[in-house]
């Protein structure tokens, strides 16, 4: 089952996939372009893993991590499918196509052999970085990774039953239709069961928590007007529109 949360007719709906569109709880079927897409679940604590693909770490001139590099995100950076993301006036802003793992029940001290029992489902993430704003304190710092509407989730939350092997999914990003990033989750340094064991080893995870598992190589600069499509095999295609940041700072 593929689930979505959409706004339509002034109401937020739980919806499911229906032949190119969505089916609302009422049974009405609505075209994908007629609804406002929200993250497909209500996100709680948002974890993101940096440098979790050896090729991307190399691309950024980093040595592989000895333990996962995990950072947190606030709710203001989250957005849904077809979101508009403002591009600040910087030299370099790049997308990151990622597999996102949604936690389904409270998890503490979970051994990796049992980790998948705690997963509610999977979705696609596009985790933009404002590279000019990186600093070497708590890196990657919030200013670089917590820009408003710069962490997209969706379109669907796909049930675990429909994703038999999350560690063997192709990732792909297309900018204006051209393929710019390709990879596979089989190349993750720290896989999904490891990440759940690691995080739940020192803190309690809960329903709605989500882990963005990192991105492979192939990140490029994006510009206002670009359409960025991040896709994970079997989960869906998450579309993003880059727009100019027209407002000025005080």
């Amino acid at each position: 089952m593929k689930r979505a949360r959409v706004a339509y007719g002034g109401v937020i709906h739980a919806a499911t996939e229906d032949a190119g569109g969505v089916r609302l709880g009422s049974g009405e079927c609505i075209a994908a372009s007629e609804v406002v897409w929200l993250p497909p679940f209500e996100p709680q604590t948002v974890f993101a893993v940096g440098l979790n693909y050896a090729d991307h770490a190399q691309e950024l001139a980093f040595k592989p991590q000895q333990e996962p590099l995990v950072f947190l995100k606030g709710p203001g950076t989250l957005a849904g499918h077809r979101a508009r993301t403002r591009r600040p006036k910087v030299a370099f802003m790049h997308y990151e196509c990622e597999l996102a793992v949604v936690i389904g029940r409270p998890a503490r001290h979970v051994p990796r052999a049992e980790a998948y029992q705690y997963v509610a489902g999977y979705t696609v993430a596009n985790d933009y970085a404002i590279r000019d704003h990186l600093e070497n304190y708590y890196r990657p710092n919030f200013r670089a990774k917590n820009w408003d509407a710069a962490t997209l989730l969706g379109p669907w939350l796909v049930d675990t039953a429909d994703v038999p092997d999350p560690m063997n999914l192709k990732l792909q990003t297309r900018v204006n239709g051209k393929i710019t990033q390709q990879g596979t989750t089989s190349k993750m340094i720290f896989d999904v069961p490891f990440l759940i064991e690691y995080l739940s080893g020192f803190m309690t995870l809960g329903p709605g928590d989500v882990i963005l598992t990192g991105t492979p190589e192939g990140v490029v600069n994006v510009q206002p007007g670009d359409q960025v499509l991040t896709a994970v095999e079997g989960l869906g295609e998450l579309l993003s529109f880059i727009v100019e940041d027209s407002a000025s700072a005080p």
């Binding site: 604590t45 995990v70 606030g74 710092n141």
Partner: protein, 262 residues
Amino acid sequence: MSKTAWLNLYGHPAPLCAKVDPLRHSVQLGAREFEVGAERWEVPTRGNIYGIALNFRGALAALGSATAAPPYQSPPRAPILYLKPRNTRIGYGAPIPVPAGIEALAVGATLGVVLSQSAYRVAASEAEQFIGGYTIVNDVTIPHDSYYRPALKQKCRDGFCPVGPWIMERDQLGSADGLAIRAYVNGKLALENTTANLIRPIRQIIADVSAFMTLAAGDVLLVGLPENLPLARAGDRVAVEIEGLGRLENPLVAELPAPGHA
């Protein structure tokens, strides 16, 4: 002297507005008056709690010339934020678990600034009107030396963010720019500093954080941690006191062992 404050008590579904006495440590709620220690307290806000690293002059100075060397290369430019996620939040009096294998925890005495409305690209000169009130926070931290990577393991353990007991309304406190911050371990004064030592004063924090992200009503900004934080161990009782605002007390207890390690 009683002040207007907002609080959440166990068993009450909604926030309560009360008169509080930060010196006598008591609450007047309607016709009922009680000592703070006589009630079970919840965290007084549902907002997100964002900390700011290295915002006390002494804390940055403690890094010394290291800020010019790898891995930092230069002192911080914009505010360096971190999040205290939902598993960390506990109210007044709730136990702070000390993780297995960790001897002592740093008492992260700090002031929490509570936003009254959504804030984005707010000028420092306008920032005051975005403040709804103030609360006391213990940003519990496992002592660590490096600020290079996000410190989840050191800052995001269960129960590592006591908040409260209340949010005092902004106009009840007056200026928050020169407030004494004190920490006690088992009743003994172990830290004394003041918000006069902030590198970015509160108005500037709001301006510089809202320059790059939207803050929501109810969100809490921790103004920073002073240098030389006191340490406390399981069995200790710690208190964070802020002048005019009140006192936040919590005991430290040994964390329950992981299954299979009992």
